[in-house]
């Protein structure tokens, strides 16, 4: 199996100048993720799990270590050294990120939000419209909500929309940052079905979970984090 992502000796800390503080979030982490694999990371909150995902996605700057990603467009690329434009390209086309928080454009409806995600990849408008309806239906988002602003949605609805938006792109690598936190049982099953479907289609995933029961049925391997290192 090909390696899709290889994290080598990743460390990340934060210097809060105004408070005179230095916070070490992650120390010397190594992860190897093969194509088609699903790896889960567990650990207490504050143990540094999300930091790893944010380093991969480029929301945090990588100061030490390397993250080698096998890109369709750029070949083998160290995300620690990728240009901003390369990261933006990868986010649009190859790497997806789902967090428990929906960060949306104000005054954009649920339907527009999902459509834009598809259009970004260069798909046609009619395709985007069709796929959007398909995925919103799959997640049983009430039809009345499709043309409403997500700011008025409940937590569960927001999350389902968030996942729908990331999954509709069928990214090569999907980062899941506690995607099932605060979901009810039915919604969890929906998410699970879609994750399974993506796995069957060959999407590689790296996920953080609190819900160990949910995770155990899905992942191929798991790591446990404590204080920024794997235990």
């Amino acid at each position: 199996m090909e390696t899709l992502l290889e994290i080598k000796d990743l460390s990340k800390s934060f210097d809060l100048h105004n408070l005179g503080k230095h916070i070490r979030a992650v120390s010397h982490v190594d992860i190897q993720l093969n194509e088609g694999e699903f790896i889960g990371i567990t650990g207490k909150s504050g143990s540094g799990k999300s930091t790893i995902l944010k380093c991969i996605y480029g929301a945090y700057r990588i100061q030490q270590g390397s993250i080698w990603y096998h890109s369709k467009k750029f070949g083998r690329i160290n995300l620690a050294e990728a240009s901003e434009r390369q990261m933006l390209y990868l986010r649009k086309h190859e790497i997806g990120y789902v967090s428990q928080f929906l960060n949306v454009m104000p005054r954009t409806t649920a339907r527009q939000l999902v459509q834009q995600a598809i259009l970004e990849m260069g798909e046609s408008k009619s395709f985007a419209e069709k796929e959007t309806e398909k995925i919103l239906t799959h997640f049983e988002l009430d039809q009345e909500l499709w043309d409403s602003y997500p700011t008025t949605f409940s937590g569960g609805e927001k999350l389902r929309l968030n996942i729908a938006r990331a999954m509709v792109k069928k990214p090569r690598l999907l980062l899941l940052d506690e995607p099932t936190a605060s979901l009810d049982h039915d919604s969890k099953i929906k998410v699970k079905l879609l994750i399974e479907q993506l796995m069957n289609e060959g999407t590689t995933m790296l996920g953080i979970f609190h819900d160990l029961e949910f995770m155990n049925h899905l992942v191929n391997r798991e790591y446990n984090m404590q204080n920024g290192v794997f235990s």
């Binding site: 105004n18 945090y60 434009r85």
Partner: protein, 281 residues
Amino acid sequence: MTEFEVPVLSVKNLNKQYGPGCPHCKEGESETLVKNYCQVCGTVYACRDVSFDVFPGEVLGIVGESGSGKSTLMQCLYFDQEVTAGAAFVRSYENGEKNLFQESSQQQRYIRNHIMGKVYQNPLLGLRMNFSSIGNIAEKLIAAGSNHVGMMESRGTELLNKVNIPVHRRKEAPKYFSGGMQQRVQIAKALSNNPPVLLLDEVTTGLDLSVQASVLDLIKSLQRELNISIVLVSHDLGVIRMLADRTLVMLEGKVIEEGLTDQILEDPQHPYTQQLVHSLL
């Protein structure tokens, strides 16, 4: 790292100083400077070695406090001010091989009329307040070489429609419009020659929230539809967060930090950027 794309606009080591400079503050780097001001000769170093690239279809945000040099930078790029030193290249002009700042004023006028559009914070600078709104657009079209009245009329109407100015008000002068409407007329005017690069200087500053929202939505939809590249200057991180793909942070005339917008917001490095982000409501 070599890029996989070609920039639309490339700015290299742009410097702008007000004042002659003296042996004490030469190059704007000496320790006698208070911030970017020389106490000996009174020279202000408004932009110091500013370099950046703008790529096709992206929004580049520039954020910084008042006096950080953002507007001076935009004025230099639109030839409202003469640079002290530096270079800028636009791909659609002479294949991106000629330094715009060294072109004749006639050529610079050509570039303003054909390749760039600018929207000012103050509509008085971007519009003729006594002309009709559609006349303002026609002015820019004429400058860009148009001479067919019917075509200008229909293009003007189309543009005003796009920025949600009611057709029946197209012949009214902007001085009778609200601030938000004036900004939208300015945007229509700036877009009239299909510029590959649009410069937006604090376009929503001073507008009330709902009007600000409508202007921001307009910018976002235009950018998506027309795929123009936008340089967006704002001191408002909320605006930057909503619109910019990448962001530069300026302080005292220098770019002190740059990155993906979420990098700037979630993992700011420079003490000033941290302070700025933590000031966000």
